[in-house]
């Protein structure tokens, strides 16, 4: 039996020792926003935050997360209000097919928490573990830089952009 807190809700789950955290989220908790793709930690589609740190959930065993707190893409927006990054991704046209986007948003969320005012080079470095086959990197980088602008204006975590200011 393991206990994890996912997006603020606690769960007690019986899992096989060989279950990955990615499988736990997707198959047991139905949180399919976290995507499975390369299973090697190369593509970043499964990026989540564990105890506030970004990780590839395909490389973490569910049992390792016992007692820990996890944030997935489903936990980023609150009450249907997009957070500043999600809003900026849409505003800047950074979303195409969408498959990599949850991972990109989570990696960007971690980046902005570590470095609230990144340069374009910082963003490129911070997101280079998240592949986008649509090749929307330019727009994704723009979005992260724009979200940073927004967060400077509004400190509320889910604040920016909804008022339609931009």
């Amino acid at each position: 039996m393991i206990r994890v807190t996912v997006n603020g809700s606690s769960h007690a789950l019986d899992v096989m020792d060989s279950t990955t955290l990615l499988d736990l989220l997707r198959d047991r908790l139905g949180l399919t926003g976290t995507k499975e793709c390369c299973d090697l930690g190369e593509c970043g589609a499964c990026t989540i935050l564990v105890e506030g740190r970004s990780v590839n959930s395909c490389l973490v065993l569910a049992a390792e997360a016992n007692g820990q707190s996890i944030t997935t893409i489903e936990g980023v927006a609150s009450d249907g209000r997009l957070n500043r990054l999600q809003d900026a991704f849409l505003e800047k046209g950074a979303v195409q097919c969408g498959f990599c986007i949850p991972g990109q948003v989570m990696a960007a969320e971690y980046l902005l928490r570590q470095n609230p005012h990144p340069s374009a080079a910082d963003v490129k470095e911070g997101l280079c573990g998240n592949l986008c086959r649509c090749g929307a990197y330019e727009q994704i980088i723009e979005a992260v830089l724009a979200a940073n602008q927004t967060s400077r204006e509004s400190l509320s975590p889910s604040g920016g952009g909804q008022g339609g200011g931009r």
Binding site: S18, S54, L61, A63, G129
Partner: protein
């Protein structure tokens, strides 16, 4: 994944007892960035996986000893990058750690795991080698310390015996002024495995030490005591001659990341560049203060972008 039992012991003696009991059937889990991949592709099928992250003696701390720094077995790359003492005294290790995978990987992957995995291309190995790192090993039979140079045996092979684990890595402080740099060649600018990697250290006394990865079955050291390499007055041709001699130890192979011929040629090119950087740093009083985060500094300035902080 083949089924296995997962356990998370709280003390080192519990870990050692488990290792002693299960031997080759046990796998140690720290960051898991290599192990979980191997479990998934079924190339490793342990009966038990021992997670060492809650072991109190193996807490993720960077401690200080009389001789230098002691990096605990569960310290991750991201922590290496941030630690001010490592940044000051072992900047090439910071540069190397910053190239290991993506940030998500560096938030999990441990320095000790990188060494124990013993990939010939492990990016932190050349830096640890030139800094004279030593490896602390424990088992139910006791503890021992080996130099990192002795530690590596071959691809995936170390001197670790059945029942042993690495508890920490020691980095001795230098007794003279020195400067080092890490560099590598990859197929793309983003996250990649090294085609070749190397570290160059120049000491105030003139001794120059290189360590190379991905060009032999294990990372290795090559030292020049003549003082010629570090001598700003020595000619390029003379330096090249010494470098070529040092590089005879390299035995690169051809694989999907590069041919033997290319690797050989790049060893000389990258060695020259690393040597220049190390000498510049030795002469620059403001150094050490390595640029962070694997900025794209391997390229002669394509007009105005990507360059990290000064140095």
């Amino acid at each position: 994944m083949h089924p296995f039992a997962y356990t998370r012991p709280a003390t080192l003696s519990d870990v050692l007892a488990l290792l002693d009991k299960h031997g080759g059937e046990a796998c140690l889990l720290a960051g898991g960035t290599d192990l979980v991949v191997e479990l998934r592709n079924r190339s490793r099928r342990p009966s038990i996986v021992i997670d060492i992250k809650q072991v109190k003696e193996l807490a993720p701390t960077i401690g200080e000893t009389e001789r230098g720094l002691r990096i605990g077995a569960t310290v991750v790359m991201a922590d290496i990058e941030k630690d001010s003492r490592i940044r000051r005294h072992f900047p090439a290790l910071v540069e190397a750690a910053a190239t290991v995978g993506s940030i998500q990987i560096r938030n999990r992957a441990t320095l000790t795991g990188n060494i124990c995995h013993a990939s010939p291309a492990a990016d932190t190995a050349p830096a640890l080698l030139v800094y004279g790192a030593e490896v602390n090993v424990a088992s139910v039979r006791g503890t021992r310390r080996v130099t990192l140079d002795q530690f590596f045996v071959g691809p995936g092979k170390t001197v670790l015996k059945r029942g042993e684990l690495v508890t920490s890595i020691d980095l001795p402080l230098a007794d003279n002024r020195r400067a080092a740099t890490f560099t590598r060649l990859t197929r793309r600018r983003g996250v990649d495995l090294a085609t070749i990697n190397l570290c160059c250290k120049v000491e105030a006394g003139g001794r120059t030490t290189f360590a190379y990865g991905a060009v032999g079955p294990r990372p290795f050291l090559a030292t020049d005591d003549s003082g010629m390499l570090a001598d700003p007055r020595a000619s390029d041709a003379a330096k090249d001659e010494i470098l070529r001699r040092l590089l005879t130890k390299a035995t690169p192979i051809s694989d999907v990341r590069g041919s033997r011929e290319y690797r050989r040629a790049m060893l000389l090119v990258m060695s020259r560049r690393a040597l220049r950087t190390a000498i510049d740093r030795l002469q620059d009083d403001r150094f050490p203060s390595p640029s962070t985060g694997g900025q794209d500094d391997r390229f002669p300035s394509p007009s105005g972008g990507g360059k990290g902080g000064g140095a």
